[in-house]
Each structure stands twice: as structure tokens, then as C-alpha cells.
């Protein structure tokens, strides 16, 4: 049982990497998702097609394939980036399709009557979107967005498959030295649970703050 303290550092480093992966990927995914969703509801047909194609493409190919493609195959055609940003890019682009789907379902969930009322009051496209549709759409999807973000957290573990030392991989490495799998893996599980709890309580908080009852 000696040497636990030495390994705590590695463990913490892995956890930190997981947090960074999650934060950066979520940021990237959110931005891409907003752009893609805008494309999908705009009147320009090629952009709509692009938005749909994007979502279908990324949702129907497993993240592991994307990661392998980005990390091992893209350097072959001269697109080589450091490992960590590549993992963020793959995870972010992949999860963006899920964020985009959630955003769109939120917008579709608003009754057409709301939009018609906004039109009848003389609001333009941007105004009715900004003042009527989006505020209502957002409040219905805060919790789903939180859940997608938890999915993203779970998916950051896949980065281990291409060599990023995040929490899962760090646990594995420490375990190879210490050979104490049960406490180590349970510890990692608790870490993930804590992170998921943070995400869902932030979502819950936002939900309470933003949604008038």
C-alpha cells in the first residue's frame, strides 16, 4: 500500500485533463452547434443541407472512429496538430451534432402560434427569434443540454483510446503500478460522478434562475 501519495498527483493530473477536455470540447461544441442550428433553420438551401449533413455525419459515425481518424489519419495528409487539441477538436465536433439536435428540438418544441403571434405583432425574423422563440426554446432545453454535457464528459474518456492521459487512462496507469484495481476504479468513478453532479447542478441552477414559474 506504499506509494499511494506519489500516485495521487498523477491521478489529479488525469482528472484535470478530463476537466480541460470537457470544458474546451463543450465550448467548441456549443459554438459549432449554434452555427449549425442557425444553418438548419435559415432560408438558404445549401446551408440547410450542410447543417443536416453535419448532424447526420457526426451522429452516425462513432466517436472512436472520429478520434482515430483525426489523430492517426489526418497527419497523413499534412494536418498535424498536438494530441490534446486534436482530441478536443474531435470530441467537440462530434458532440456539437448532439447539441445542435437538442437546440433544434427546443426550437421545434415551441408552438407555431408563438411565432405567428410574433409575426402578427410585426416583429421581424431576428426579433421574433430573439425576443419570442429563443427565450422559450432555451428554457425547455437547459436540462437536456446539461445531460448532453454529461454525455460529453463520459465521452472524453474515449480520448484515452488515442493516448490522451485523462482520468480513465491515469487510473489505468496507476493501477498498473499499484495493482489495486478496486479502490482505484471506484475512486475514478466517484470523480466522474462528482463532475457529472457539478454539471447537472449548474444546469439545475440555470434552470431555476432562468425559468420563471
Amino acid at each position: 500500500m506504499t506509494g499511494w501519495a506519489d500516485h495521487l498527483g498523477k491521478f489529479a493530473e488525469g482528472a484535470l485533463n478530463t476537466v480541460e477536455l470537457t470544458v474546451f470540447s463543450a465550448g467548441l461544441a456549443a459554438v459549432v452547434a449554434v452555427v449549425v442550428t442557425t444553418f438548419r433553420i435559415c432560408p438558404v438551401r445549401p446551408l440547410r443541407a450542410f447543417g443536416t449533413a453535419y448532424v447526420e455525419l457526426f451522429q452516425n459515425i462513432p466517436l472512436a472512429v472520429w478520434l482515430v481518424l483525426f489523430v492517426f489519419a489526418l497527419p497523413v495528409i499534412g494536418l498535424k496538430f498536438p494530441l490534446f487539441p486534436t482530441a478536443v477538436l474531435a470530441t467537440g465536433l462530434y458532440m456539437a451534432s448532439y447539441y445542435a439536435e437538442t437546440l433544434r428540438s427546443g426550437i421545434n418544441g415551441i408552438g407555431a402560434g408563438q411565432a405567428e403571434a410574433a409575426r402578427a405583432l410585426g416583429l421581424g425574423f431576428g426579433q421574433s427569434l430573439r425576443c419570442v422563440i429563443l427565450p422559450q426554446a432555451l428554457r425547455t432545453i437547459i436540462q437536456p443540454l446539461g445531460n448532453v454535457t454529461i454525455q460529453l464528459l463520459m465521452n472524453t474518456a474515449l480520448a484515452a483510446a488515442v493516448g490522451v492521459v485523462e482520468l480513465t487512462e491515469a487510473t489505468n496507469r496507476v493501477n498498473l503500478v499499484l495493482a489495486e484495481p478496486l479502490p482505484l476504479y471506484i475512486g475514478a468513478g466517484v470523480c466522474y460522478a462528482a463532475l457529472a453532479l457539478i454539471i447537472s447542478s449548474v444546469a439545475g441552477l440555470l434552470d431555476r434562475k432562468l425559468v420563471p414559474r
Binding site: 452516425n60 489519419a73 439536435e101 421545434n108 445531460n147 474515449l158 495493482a179
Partner: protein, 301 residues
């Protein structure tokens, strides 16, 4: 919905839309050309880099991988569904001793990455004397992790049924298990078929983690093949294409079943539970939102 947001475009708006269309197409073409150029200047467009994939042995190998994927996916779906069914019955049970563990299972598994479970099966279990074969090191963690998803789908199916159905069965003198067997279950299961198919596609995607346990499914086969013939990008693109075709077909199937049910005016199929109520936090809106259901059903990445 989107068409309500703006007026029927007049001449100016139409012109603007047309200009935007042209610009978008141009930008798309430029990006495509850049990608092709990137392939070309690195010599990856050369015919001999692609022709191997016109030959049978390559495909035979990849199809073998696909067979591995199919086997793992079918096994995982079967086990996950059984787990899900048991857990769903547990969750709607009247007895706390059944309800609590089912709930705990669903909530806990939801916040544990699949890869951690796989690592657990790979590195932890052997130490405690349980060294599973490769296939099961992949299938069991997937089944455990997806079982919770299936449980929630089944449960939302049960809950989507009007209370009158169960009450009517009780009024006819059926015992609870009889009501479940003859009345509730057959109706509920029909409503969740699209969500089940979506989950199946998700399981299929999960099996790509065979690359971690070195089980010879599609992605792992691709990795082996690429290591052997050095055609990295070609191999992985073809792998991606295969996954896309299969998953896209599955999701279209789910959507068409769903659409048909909408048309025939039958009860709206239930999606996997709206993520909102699976949260660790408080539960909001119940399963009733069926319009956006197909999309949310796919939200498990």
C-alpha cells in the same frame, strides 16, 4: 415552424437568398477543393493508394471485422435489453426493495464512462480471478452501461400508457403481473420500438471500442489493416463510411416507423426518456413530449 418566422420573401429578400446561396456553394466548393488539394499534395490521391480497396481480400478482411461488430452488437443488445427490462420492472415495482436498487443502478451507470467499465473488465476483474474472453470484455461493459438506457426506455413506455389500461385490467380481475403481461407490456413495447432501434444503433457505435480491448470488430480490423498496408487515411475513411451507412440505415428505419405511426393516428411512440428526467437533479417535464422524441432518443452519444 421555421417558415412562420419570416414573410414570404419579396423580390429583395429572394435576391439576397439567391446571393447567399451562391456564396455558400462557392465557399463549399473552395473548402472541398482545399481538402482535395491537401490529399493530392501528400500523394494520397494516387490510384495505387486506393485500388487495393477494389480488391476482394481487403474487403473480406473488413467484412470479417463487420461480422465481429455485428456479433458484439447483437450480444450486447440482447443482454442490455434483458438487464433493462428487469431494471424497468424494478423501477415501477410497488416494493421499495426492488425499486431502490433499480434506481441506483440506472443513476450510477449513467455517470460512469463506458471506457472505465471496459478497463475495469480488462484490468481489474482478472486480478480478482475473472479473466473473460476478449469478446465478453467488450460486450459485458457495453451491456451494463446501455442496460440503464434500455431500462429508461422501457419505463417510459410503461408510463406512457394511460392509467385506464391498468385499471381496466384490474377491474377485469387480473392480478398485477397478469395485467402487465397481457395488457400493459404488449402495448408499451410497441410504442418504444423506434427508441429501441436508436439505442441499438448506439450499441453498435459503442462496439467500436473493440479497438481498446483488441477484439476484432470493424475499427480494430481497420487498425490492423492500416498497420499492415500503410493506407491509413483510406482505410479509416472506408471504416467511417461503413459505420455511417449502417447507422444511417438504422436511424432512418427508426424514423420511418415513427412517422408511420404518426400517420396512422396510433398512439405516439415514446422516445427514450426525455433527458430532463434522467437527471441527477430534479425531474421536470414527464415523457409526454413526443414531437421532438425521435431526435432526443438519439441523444446518447
Amino acid at each position: 415552424m421555421t417558415s412562420v418566422l419570416f414573410d414570404v420573401p419579396g423580390p429583395r429578400a429572394r435576391r439576397r437568398t439567391r446571393i447567399a446561396t451562391v456564396v455558400a456553394v462557392l465557399v463549399g466548393l473552395v473548402l472541398f477543393a482545399l481538402a482535395v488539394r491537401q490529399f493530392a499534395i501528400n500523394g494520397e490521391l494516387a490510384a495505387q493508394r486506393w485500388t487495393p480497396y477494389a480488391s476482394w481480400p481487403m474487403w473480406r478482411y473488413l467484412l470479417g471485422g463487420l461480422g465481429g461488430t455485428a456479433l458484439a452488437a447483437v450480444l450486447a443488445v440482447a443482454i442490455a435489453m434483458s438487464i433493462g427490462l428487469v431494471a424497468a420492472f424494478g423501477r415501477i415495482s410497488r416494493h421499495l426493495v426492488l425499486r431502490a436498487p433499480s434506481r441506483a443502478y440506472v443513476e450510477v451507470v449513467r455517470i460512469i464512462p463506458l471506457l472505465l467499465l471496459i478497463y475495469f473488465a480488462m484490468f481489474a476483474l482478472p486480478r480478482y480471478g475473472l479473466d473473460l474472453p476478449l469478446l465478453w470484455k467488450l460486450v459485458l461493459p457495453i451491456a451494463v452501461s446501455r442496460g440503464a438506457q434500455f431500462a429508461e426506455i422501457f419505463r417510459s413506455g410503461f408510463r406512457s400508457l394511460e392509467a385506464g389500461q391498468g385499471e381496466a385490467a384490474a377491474a377485469l380481475g387480473m392480478r398485477p403481473y397478469q395485467a402487465m403481461l397481457h395488457v400493459v407490456f404488449p402495448q408499451a413495447i410497441r410504442r418504444v420500438v423506434p427508441a429501441l432501434i436508436s439505442q441499438g444503433a448506439g450499441v453498435l457505435k459503442d462496439t467500436s471500442l473493440g479497438i481498446v480491448v483488441s477484439y476484432a470488430e470493424l475499427l480494430q480490423s481497420g487498425k490492423v489493416l492500416a498497420g499492415y498496408n500503410r493506407l491509413l487515411i483510406q482505410t479509416y475513411l472506408i471504416i467511417a463510411l461503413l459505420y455511417f451507412v449502417i447507422n444511417y440505415a438504422l436511424s432512418r428505419l427508426a424514423r420511418s416507423i415513427e412517422a408511420r405511426r404518426h400517420q396512422t393516428g396510433g398512439p405516439a411512440p415514446v422516445s427514450s426518456p426525455p433527458p430532463a428526467r434522467r437527471g441527477l437533479g430534479r425531474n421536470r417535464s414527464a415523457a409526454g413530449t413526443s414531437d421532438d422524441a425521435p431526435r432526443r432518443a438519439r441523444v446518447r452519444a
